[in-house]
Assembly symmetry: C2
Homo-oligomer: 196 residues x 2
DNA sequence: TTACAAACCAAGCGCTTGCTTGGTAGCTTA
DNA sequence: TAAGCTACCAAGCAAGCGCTTGGTTTGTAA
């Protein structure tokens, strides 16, 4: 699948290799505890050579952040576009968000949440602007369900609760366990929306 | 109320003042980005003087962690003990957990989640051992509801989902908004357990 | 063969970090 | 009033940090 190859813009270029190594190290050690020497060693170059590809260490974190947001926003768009049934749209959103958090973009998503505040305010703003489209799909679907009286809560509150459930899965979910991802998505869906 | 005064063991002793200043700074900047000089300045002493009270910077984080876990575990015990109705026990647990996350122990709880991995493995183990009692109250109540067939999911999974919803509130909940904490607790309860 | 750019190295600079050291002020107890 | 303890200061050390610099290799294309 081409999609999984192009996650984060992680191609075979030196820049791509640096990004995927950085995402892994940031996830394992945290942004602050990962040194540019760590990242350089992971791809087999000297620490100074990193700055031929990125202006600063923070730019690496920013690049990881932006790439994963863009990549996952596109997945969300597809999830909504794949059906007209609004409940199935929500199921798709939940499924895909779970996938992003415990699946292929796991490393970067954990970094995105945990090390968000290591980005300067300007970079946070820039990332949020791109993220707005992502959240837009959620509000479109949840707003629709709310209009049908099938939510029982404000759409925004529901979004926050779902976001909490999905992002927390990175702390516990085991793909080899009894419950699989789609099963978990169904559980969350069931607890979010009232049946017709 | 004596309880709020003794949060984190934050009395008027030099040690207590250091702990509350550290909790605030850790929350604002993160553990790694907070220097011992920051903490010292916040209480008006020299950086070296900190080590008269704590053996290392990590011991400060550990002390904050342990104090808040102990304090909140006692609250959980009280919540369960305050009623015999199992559904009301769960409501109490949810309420109190929300309270710990957006209320008086907010600073320390955010640090506990975000900077958990800044603790050495041994210290993580020690903290988890104390935290076990806290989780025990949850499993006791959720296990009871599951036995009554009122959960629809494994008790452990339900606990994780609730934990996700509650801890994520630190990112969005506004106490001056329309929805108050008890109202939010009711929403979460309603989505967690099937009525009799 | 030459020209040129992308990719990289070797060395190290300036700064910050957690923490140490040796000594002092002030309060309490005998 | 002398001893002893808690709480602190002033100074600085060794290590590690992000990043810079000047120069070299490697691949590509005229």
């Amino acid at each position: 699948m081409i999609a999984t190859l192009s996650v984060y813009g992680m191609d075979d270029t030196p820049r791509g290799k640096l990004l995927s190594a950085a995402a892994r190290l940031f996830r394992e050690q945290g942004y602050d505890r990962t040194t540019v020497r760590d990242i350089a060693a992971a791809v087999g170059i000297q620490s100074g050579s990193i700055f031929h590809h990125f202006a600063s260490k923070e730019e690496i974190l920013f690049a990881v952040t932006m790439e994963v947001i863009r990549f996952n926003t596109e997945r969300m768009r597809q999830a909504v576009a794949s059906t007209d049934d609004i409940q199935e749209q929500l199921r798709g959103l939940i499924r895909v968000e779970l996938q992003t958090i415990v699946g292929d973009t796991r490393e970067a998503m954990i970094v995105l949440v945990r090390d968000w505040r290591c980005l300067s305010e300007e970079k946070q703003k820039a990332a949020l602007a791109v993220r707005a489209e992502y959240e837009g799909y959620w509000m479109q679907v949840l707003g629709g369900l709310q209009a049908q009286g099938r939510l029982g809560v404000d759409a925004m509150v529901m979004r926050r609760l779902i976001n909490g459930m999905t992002s927390w899965t990175s702390n516990w979910f085991d793909e080899s366990g009894q419950l699989d991802l789609d099963g978990l998505a169904d559980v969350i869906l069931q607890r979010s929306v009232d049946p017709l």
